[in-house]
């Protein structure tokens, strides 16, 4: 029988890769705003900082969903729910939306009008609150649904992802109380505040509406923190429990892995990332619009996880960056170039989902484990084939 060795067991190359890959991502990520704003017109068109900020937001979402889908193997088609909770939390706590509260509550905030009513908290206070709110939402949604298996779980989460935006769309007057301001959304929210960094000379109290550079660094920092959490969790006891559940739930239970609690942790942590990303999204745009929260979002984030490489943090980052760029800039600019060159008038972004579909099909055919597969999955096809062979032989 052929011996399948563990990929790169304890060699120098592996150790180098363990340092080099994160370093590459860190340096590459940090240098983006400098490179993009210094090179000139070409980059502004092809790599605008607005898109780079969105890339950061989607990296956050993808990492969050990766914990649920990649680590724990729970197919969630309603990730948009957590995005929604994060965004509305920021909307509620960083604007004059609750004008009933007058005089308003102001804590380290950067509201334009320091006497404005409502709850005005600093973004940096809202981030953990949004994470907790989304995590609680995750646990509440998860508790009744996580007893279901695979396809059924996917369907129920899909349902939640549809119900919640509808509820918020119609949440203008819940017995007279305005929860979500319906289709009008919540806004404007207070600008991102960087007052706590003022001692370094970098931060200002409120960042400029056009200051995408600061926005980029903020989401970048949030992502780095969540990446560290992801990696730490993966290598810890919880990570092993998730892996066991993904492999074989029954066997995991026999090993003493508490199924419900372990799955709820995955949901909670994944949702927290959705909440943080949502809060930042809201503040970055200066408001929440309920139309943002649709099924497409859940699917696109799932695509990012699959394209990049399930259960591999760096793969997920790559998948998120590439797809976000393609979505918000790539399609449009490629279309423009084609049209300019050939004098045609094709609207390339219109074919976005056709191209997405083709890419996904090709991925499933030729690179099923994503662009950067998790080390554990790398040989899975090879092993699957061998398992099958052994299964038919039965005896050895």
């Amino acid at each position: 029988m052929a011996v399948v060795t563990t990929p790169g067991t304890g060699t120098g190359a592996r150790r180098l890769r363990r340092v080099a890959v994160p370093a590459l991502f860190l340096i590459g990520g940090l240098s983006v705003p400098t490179v993009v704003t210094n090179v000139g017109a070409f980059e502004d068109r092809w790599f605008p900082l607005t898109t780079m900020v969105l890339c950061g937001i989607f990296v956050m979402f993808t990492l969050g969903l990766n914990i649920v889908v990649g680590y724990a193997g729970l197919l969630d088609l309603g990730y948009v729910a957590f995005f929604l909770f994060g965004a509305y939390t920021a909307g509620w706590l960083m604007s004059s939306f609750f004008f009933q509260i007058d005089p308003g509550i102001h804590i380290f905030d950067a509201a334009i009008n320091p006497d404005s009513p409502g709850i005005n908290l600093s973004f940096w206070i809202v981030v953990p609150i949004a994470a907790v709110v989304a995590a609680i939402a995750g646990v509440i949604i998860g508790a009744p649904t996580l007893r279901l298996k695979s396809d059924y779980l996917a369907l129920v989460t899909l349902g939640f992802g549809e119900i919640l935006p509808q509820a918020f769309r119609n949440g203008e007057s819940i017995k007279g109380f305005n929860l979500s301001n319906g289709t009008k959304g919540i806004g404007p929210t207070n600008p991102l505040d960087m007052g706590w960094l003022s001692w370094t000379g970098v931060g200002k109290d409120a960042i400029n509406v056009f200051d995408y550079k600061t926005r980029y660094y903020v989401i970048f920092a949030l992502c780095v923190i969540f990446i560290l959490i992801s990696l730490r969790l993966r290598d810890g006891k919880l990570g092993r429990a998730w892996l066991a559940i993904r492999e074989d739930e029954l066997a995991a239970s026999l090993m003493g892995v508490p199924l419900m609690r372990t799955k709820l942790w995955a949901y909670g942590v994944g949702a927290a990332a959705g909440g943080i990303g949502g809060a930042f999204y809201c503040v970055s745009l200066g408001g929440v619009q309920v139309d943002t929260f649709n099924f497409q979002f859940s699917v696109i984030v799932l695509c990012m996880v699959i394209l990049g490489g399930m259960a591999n943090v760096y793969g997920c980052i790559l998948g998120a960056v590439i797809l976000t760029w393609v979505n918000y800039t790539g399609m449009k600019e490629i279309g423009n170039s084609v049209n300019n060159t050939f004098g045609t008038e094709i609207s390339v972004p219109k074919y976005q989902f056709l191209i997405f579909g083709i890419v996904l099909v090709l991925m499933m055919l030729f690179r099923r484990d994503g662009m950067l597969p998790a080390a554990r999955q790398k040989h899975s096809r090879e092993i699957d084939a061998q398992i099958e062979k052994i299964g038919t032989e039965g005896v050895a």
């Binding site: 029988m1 052929a2 011996v3 399948v4 060795t5 563990t6 067991t9 006891k237 092993r240 429990a241 892996l243 066991a244 492999e247 074989d248 029954l250 066997a251 995991a252 239970s253 026999l254 090993m255 003493g256 892995v257 508490p258 199924l259 419900m260 554990r376 999955q377 040989h379 899975s380 092993i383 699957d384 061998q386 398992i387 052994i390 032989e393 039965g394 005896v395 050895a396």
Partner: protein, 243 residues
């Protein structure tokens, strides 16, 4: 450990009824396992052996009846809590974690434990029991042969340092030589003082190493007694041992 405080049988299954949906798989089975014994449940397909075992390990709750382990009621408890009390199971069909290495499988067997030294000790012990596993320590478990996978399933269960070890069909799909090897190891494990509940279709092999046995048929206990007597009984010989 609180083991000694309890007198009477270690495991007591009292008149349990287990259903899959509306289908009764177990219709009032009672068994007892005393500390230090090997007890086996034999019977043909669909007799309710595996279902009884599943009920004991908390994978499915009996609709009626009580299961007690060391005097504590465990029926209705979720699986991980039963494991925490000291019952480990090597499930039917092995169910090892195919994409993890042999060593990682053993790690998961010790999932509930925090005693690093004890875990290292037990790892050595199971590798001693199954030297073939030690040779394949970093190999993905899914690529092991059937016999090796069975060894791993038993080893993994032992890593929980259980007081009751339950083995579901350890001989399934194995060549006679490997069956003998597995059963010899079971004997060896018992000599270390382990209590074992064994479910088997291979009645001959099971009766050979067991102290007592229960013969199950269509969800009820048909016969019970010492393994030696049952192996000699005409009914059992005719039904399960081929004359």
């Amino acid at each position: 450990m609180a083991t000694n405080a309890h007198t009477g049988p270690m495991l007591k299954v009292e008149n349990i009824h287990v259903y899959y949906g509306n289908i009764a798989a177990v219709k009032g089975i009672s068994i007892e396992v005393n500390a230090g014994e090997i007890v086996t449940m034999i019977g043909s397909n669909g007799a309710g052996k595996s279902t009884t075992m599943r009920a004991i390990s908390g994978l499915i709750a009996p609709r009626r009846g009580v299961i007690e382990f060391e005097g504590r009621k465990i029926s209705g408890m979720p699986g991980h809590e039963v494991t925490a009390l000291g019952i480990s199971q090597s499930p039917e069909g092995r169910r090892i974690f195919g994409r993890m290495t042999v060593d990682e499988n053993l790690d998961l067997g010790a999932f509930l434990r925090n005693d690093k030294d004890g875990i290292a000790e037990d790892r050595e012990y199971v590798y001693g029991l199954f030297p073939r596993l030690k040779e394949r320590i970093h190999q993905k478990a899914g690529t092991l042969s059937g016999g090796e996978q069975q060894m791993l399933a038993v080893a993994r269960a032992l890593m929980g340092r259980p007081r009751l070890l339950m083995l579901d069909e350890p001989s399934m799909g194995l060549a006679p030589m490997l069956v003998e090897l597995i059963f010899n190891t079971i004997r060896q494990i018992r000599e270390q003082g382990m209590t074992i509940l064994l479910v088997e279709q291979n009645a001959l092999a099971a009766l050979d190493i067991a102290d007592r046995a229960y013969v199950l048929e269509s969800g009820v206990v048909k016969q019970q007694g010492s393994a030696k007597d049952l192996a000699a009984s005409d009914d059992v010989r005719k039904a399960y041992l081929g004359g």
